[in-house]
Structure formats: structure tokens, C-alpha cells
């Protein structure tokens, strides 16, 4: 048996619905249709009345989830695409994120954002918005890169008493497969060493983990041992694991699919430089998407975001400094 990243997300939701009567799913086309990507396939039939089609009203979708959460529910919101979550941004960042701090009443909602680029998706169906949400206090931002993490971290997200932005990568939906669902997992907030190495620390997350792993394979043939840290969680950010790795390697490259300005890669480098300047043997570098909207044509798109090739080149620069 094998299970895809998307199926893991579906299975996690089925389990959450089955285990906790306060869980419900709300989003566009999530009911009988099973969602634009089929992440809720069959759930409406399995859990009648608890997988609810919403009007195209991202603000009211999130607003109502907040109201339900403070009444004891654990809503899972499916945004049809991460890109459309900006229409609900106000509710997410100004209402959900401030609720506990203002009132002492927790606001446990999970907002699933199908994010990241896929070929031909263009400027409005490809965005990676983790840095936008991480900027606001009061949100937890998760970016699973593996089938196992997609499953276990989604269950964690539902259990967490705070609003969680769950960034699931569309590129991984169908392609990424595992043998079976995990039985245990690292706690949320802990990064994982995805590949051990002594020459360079490569910090990444989400779909870029797989481009980075491919780059590390290539670099291994040239004699470089790259250590890859999969952040798993953007907020909180596991600085300890990153620092420990940099202490071993002395070199740092951060790779993210999102835009560069004020993003996750910038944050990681800022932390390493300010807390571990003397650990570094070379200036830390980062590689992100280009600072333009995300292009439609596959050739342009392939050049817009980091790939195994461009990561390999960037890594070689840090290694050869």
C-alpha cells in the first residue's frame, strides 16, 4: 500500500472528525464534491452535516470559524487556494490571531492553505504565504514537507489551542508518496535533520525540501556532504536545531519558495548571524523565488522558483567561499 501527501491530509481530517465531535470542515466545494483537490473526498458522506459548503466569502468563512471556535468547536477551514486567503486576511490576522491575547479565550482554528507553485498555475494560484502569516503574533504556521508530516501535523494543528495556518504544498499532493501513515512524529515546533552532512547546512521547508535533497545528491557526487534541516514549522521556528547544525558545518544556505523580502529565509539568517556569528566560516546565503509575481508559462515558472539546479549552484558558492 502507498499513500500520497493529499491522501494523508484527507485521512488526518477523517481521523480528526472521527475522534472529536467538535471538529467540522468548512470551505468552498468541500461537501459532496470533496474539494477542489479532493482533500475532503467522501468526508461529507462519512460525517453528515459536518463537512459544510461555504459561499465564496473568505472573510465570513474565517469570521464564522472564530465564532465557532470560541464556542468550543475546532473548525478546519479549507481555502480553495492559499492565494484567496488574503480575502480573509483581516479575520485571520486581526481577529483570530489577537483573540487569545485580548480575551484570554483560545481560538483553535486550523486554516488549510493549498499553497506553492505548480506548472501553469500563474500569479494567483501559486503563492506561498507563510511569511505573511508568520509576521503576525498569535498564529502558528506549519509547512509539512513529507507525507508523514502532512498527516501528523494536521492532527497536531487541530489539537492546538491557537489558530494554525497549515501550508500544504500542492506540488506534493499527488507526487509524494509514503508506504504508510506514521504512528509517531516529532512535536510541532521541532525541525528535523532530513539528511546529515558536515560541509554545509541547508535550511529549507515544504516542497523545497525535495529540490534541496536532489541538490544534495548531486553535490555528494562532487564530494560535498550537505546537511539538510527541514524546518517543518515556520512559527515557532526551531532556531536551536539550525544553530546546532551550523555549529557542525560553519556554512549556511537557506532555501524557500516564497518571495525573498522579509521572508523565512531572511529570518533564519538574521537569527544565525546575530546569535551565532562566530560559528560561520562563510557569509550565509539564501535562495528564494524571484521578486516578481509568479509566472504562468512553465518555462518562466521553472526559472522563477529555486530548483535542484539553482540550489546546487548556490550551495557551491557557499561551499567554495
Amino acid at each position: 500500500m502507498s499513500i500520497t501527501y493529499l491522501e494523508a491530509i484527507r485521512e488526518a481530517q477523517a481521523r480528526a472528525l472521527g475522534e472529536n465531535p467538535n471538529v467540522y470542515i468548512y470551505g468552498q466545494d468541500v461537501g459532496d464534491f470533496g474539494g477542489a483537490f479532493k482533500a475532503t473526498k467522501g468526508l461529507a458522506a462519512q460525517f453528515p452535516g459536518r463537512v459544510i459548503d461555504a459561499p465564496i466569502s473568505e472573510d465570513a468563512i474565517v469570521g464564522s470559524a472564530i465564532g465557532a471556535a470560541i464556542q468550543g468547536m475546532r473548525p478546519i477551514i479549507e481555502m480553495q487556494f492559499a492565494d484567496f486567503s488574503t480575502v480573509g486576511l483581516n479575520q485571520i490576522v486581526n481577529q483570530a490571531a489577537t483573540y487569545y491575547w485580548r480575551t484570554n479565550v483560545p481560538c483553535p482554528i486550523t486554516i488549510r492553505l493549498p499553497c506553492g507553485g505548480t506548472s501553469g498555475s500563474g500569479p494567483f494560484h501559486s503563492q506561498s504565504l507563510e511569511a505573511v502569516y508568520a509576521h503576525f503574533p498569535g498564529l502558528v504556521v506549519l509547512t509539512p514537507a513529507t507525507v508523514e508530516d502532512a498527516y501528523s501535523m494536521l492532527l497536531d494543528a487541530v489539537a492546538i489551542d491557537d489558530p494554525v495556518i497549515f501550508c500544504e504544498h500542492k506540488f506534493l499532493y499527488y507526487h509524494l508518496k509514503a508506504e504508510k501513515l506514521p504512528t509517531g512524529a516529532l512535536p510541532v515546533g521541532k525541525a528535523r535533520i532530513a539528511r546529515a552532512g558536515r560541509d554545509l547546512t541547508l535550511v529549507t521547508y515544504s516542497a523545497m525540501l525535495h529540490e534541496s535533497l536532489a541538490a544534495a545528491e548531486e553535490l555528494a557526487t562532487q564530494g560535498y556532504q550537505v546537511e539538510i534541516v527541514d524546518l517543518r514549522s515556520i512559527k515557532p521556528l526551531d532556531t536551536d536545531t539550525v544553530m546546532a547544525s551550523v555549529a557542525r558545518t560553519g556554512r549556511l544556505l537557506c532555501v524557500g519558495e516564497a518571495w525573498p523580502w522579509g521572508g523565512v529565509t531572511a529570518e533564519v539568517i538574521a537569527r544565525v548571524v546575530s546569535e551565532g556569528f562566530d560559528l560561520l566560516d562563510a557569509p550565509p546565503q539564501r535562495l528564494n523565488a524571484k521578486d516578481t509575481p509568479i509566472p504562468f508559462h512553465p518555462r518562466l515558472w521553472a526559472a522563477h522558483r529555486p530548483t535542484a539546479q539553482s540550489i546546487t549552484a548556490a550551495a557551491r558558492n557557499v561551499l567554495n567561499y
Binding site: G67, Q71, D161
Partner: protein, 353 residues
């Protein structure tokens, strides 16, 4: 079911398929006297808030409810334990009637750590969600969908729904969020009572620059919800219309949109002299003072004696003064003991210190 859209508030309509019959208790003298007590207290509390603001004890701004007390109290007096109440900027009276203490109100204005918002948020952004009393955020239009969600939760939990009551201004109805929430409530057929206080202005902007329909009541048809118009300066009319709207919501008739005409009798905040308000409006019917009009009405209808109302004023003032004395002894919030974290989950806090 046929929709009820009342363009003109009936004084006492009886019969008919939509049962707009007014419950006699809506004009129960004891209820009206109680309502009057709240509007009076609200007015005095607003004056006190303004005084504290002028003496520098209120950080930020002071936002008063003058002219909207009758409308505000009538909604809150319909609410029962278990209902949801999400008031907005001009609901001093409704908040008190719903059960907010004078201390909670004033503590939020001065930012006391003993108030419900603990100095983290202030003025009209206050509530106690555990009591069904939801705090607004500044962003207009953002609250109604939260009320919807609270009602949806009860439906999913199989609990009695109660009703959810919330308020907005004429300006706030122009937001996309307001529209999304009204439409959502209608689609889900929720017992939402939405009161629009059309007080002619949104800050300095006249309603003619806010929407192009004659009355916001026209929107009820578009949403597929019941609509009710009311004279927001008339306490007895407000009490009757709210009674009917709340009853229809409880009976499963879906969302109720109430549109009240009135005038804000103060600045947008105490920093604002409201010189943009058309003087003719102040002289017109919408410009009359609902608190004074209520007193006159109670006396004219033999529901209260003048002496009774002046005694009420003395009692309410004393109650207010006592509360003020109490809260002025509160400590200020202490940044050294403040928990600088926004997360409920301790294990996920990055820099809790």
C-alpha cells in the same frame, strides 16, 4: 415562508400572515422604566467617560453613544441567558442592559489590568466571550460573521441556538465583510438579529456618499431576510420592533435586519467637534434626544411620574460615582509582569518573557 419587510414601523398592527402582533409585554411599563434606567445610566456613563478623557485618564480616544441609547438598549433587553451579543461602537446602553458592569466599562476605557481587556485593548473593544458578550475589533464589518459562527457552533453541537444580536453603523454596511456575513447568515438561516444604526454619518461622511439606495432596508430583500424599519429616537417604538424581530429570530424565521434612523448627538469621538453635521438635521426629528424623548413619553403615557424619574437619576448617579471611585484606585498595567506572548499554547511560544 413569506418575508417580512416593514417599511414603516406599525404602531399596533394586528393579525396578518406574518404575525406582526406586538406582544403586550413589549410595552410593559416596568420594562420601559427599566429601559429608561439603562439609557439614563448610559448617558451619564458617557458623560463621565468624556470627563475622564478630558482629564487625561483615558488613553487613546473616547467614543460615546449619545443619541443611540434607545435603539441600543432595546436590542439588549431582548436577550436572554445563552444568547450572543456583539455590540459595536455606540452601544453603551445595550452593554449595560446585557449585564456589563459600570466597572468593566470604565476599566476598559482607562486600560486597567482589572478590566476584561487588562490594558491590552481598550475603550469600546471590550467583552467577555465566555458570557456570550463578544468584543469588537476595530475593523468594521468583522464581527457579524463571528456571531454567525457562534450560532453555527450551537447548531453543530445540538445545543439550543438562542439568538445572536449585533449592531453596525450606516458606514459599516459598506464593507464587504458585512455583506459576506449577512449573506452567510441568510444561507445558513441563522437567528441573527442585525441592527443597523443609520445615524446619517460615518465619521464625517454623509450617508449619501455611503450607499445609493433610499434605505438600507432595501437590502433585506436582496439578502432574503426579514427587514424592519424603526425610528431610533423613539424608545417605545424600538422596544416593539426589537421584540418582534427577536421573536421571529427565535421562531426560526432566519436573520432579521433592523434599520433605525437617528442622529449621533456627539462627535465621532471626543476629539471630534462634528461641525460637519448639517444643523437642519439637528433640528429635525432624527436630531431629537432619545433619552429626553423617552422621559417625556413615559410621563405623557402615565407610565412614570416625574418624581420617579428624578429619583432614578439620583440613584443612577450615585451608583456611577461609586464605581468611578472604585476604578480610579486601580493600578496601571505593569509591563514587567505582563506575559508578552500571544499564544495560548505554552509549548509553542518562542520568546515568552
Amino acid at each position: 415562508m413569506q418575508r417580512l419587510v416593514e417599511a414603516v414601523p406599525p404602531a399596533a398592527v394586528t393579525g396578518g400572515p406574518n404575525d406582526p402582533v406586538l406582544r403586550p409585554s413589549a410595552l410593559d411599563p416596568s420594562q420601559l422604566r427599566l429601559a429608561y434606567r439603562w439609557v439614563l445610566l448610559a448617558r451619564l456613563l458617557d458623560d463621565k467617560t468624556a470627563a475622564l478623557y478630558r482629564s487625561g485618564l483615558v488613553p487613546g480616544g473616547a467614543f460615546l453613544s449619545k443619541g443611540q441609547e434607545a435603539l441600543s438598549v432595546s436590542l439588549a433587553m431582548q436577550l436572554q441567558p445563552g444568547d450572543i451579543y456583539a455590540p459595536l461602537i455606540r452601544d453603551t446602553a445595550g452593554r449595560l442592559a446585557f449585564g456589563e458592569t459600570i466597572q468593566d466599562a470604565l476599566r476598559s476605557c482607562i486600560g486597567s489590568p482589572l478590566g476584561p481587556m487588562r490594558g491590552r485593548d481598550g475603550n469600546v473593544h471590550r467583552g467577555r466571550p465566555k458570557d456570550g458578550y463578544l468584543p469588537m475589533i476595530s475593523h468594521l464589518g468583522a464581527i457579524p460573521s463571528v456571531v454567525n459562527g457562534a450560532l453555527i457552533a450551537r447548531r453543530l453541537q445540538g445545543k439550543p441556538m438562542g439568538i445572536g444580536a449585533t449592531c453596525i453603523g450606516d458606514g459599516g454596511t459598506s464593507t464587504g465583510a458585512f455583506h459576506e456575513a449577512m449573506n452567510q447568515a441568510a444561507v445558513e438561516r441563522l437567528p441573527l438579529v442585525m441592527v443597523v444604526a443609520d445615524n446619517q454619518y460615518a465619521y464625517s461622511t454623509h450617508r449619501s456618499r455611503q450607499f445609493a439606495c433610499d434605505s438600507l432596508l432595501d437590502r433585506a430583500v436582496g439578502y432574503g431576510v426579514d427587514g424592519h424599519a424603526v425610528d431610533g429616537t423613539d424608545l417605545a417604538a424600538c422596544m416593539q420592533v426589537m421584540d418582534r424581530a427577536a421573536r421571529r429570530a427565535r421562531e426560526g424565521c432566519g436573520p432579521q435586519l433592523i434599520v433605525a434612523n437617528l442622529l449621533r448627538l456627539c462627535g465621532h469621538g471626543e476629539h471630534d467637534d462634528a461641525s460637519y453635521v448639517d444643523p437642519a438635521l439637528k433640528e429635525s426629528h432624527v436630531g431629537r434626544d432619545c433619552v429626553k424623548a423617552a422621559a417625556d413619553w413615559l410621563i405623557a403615557h402615565g407610565m412614570a411620574a416625574p418624581g420617579e424619574l428624578s429619583k432614578m437619576q439620583t440613584d443612577v448617579s450615585a451608583e456611577l460615582e461609586k464605581a468611578v471611585d472604585e476604578i480610579l484606585r486601580d493600578p496601571a498595567p505593569d509591563p514587567n509582569v505582563e506575559k508578552w506572548t500571544a499564544l495560548a499554547t505554552a509549548a509553542l511560544r518562542e520568546n515568552a518573557s
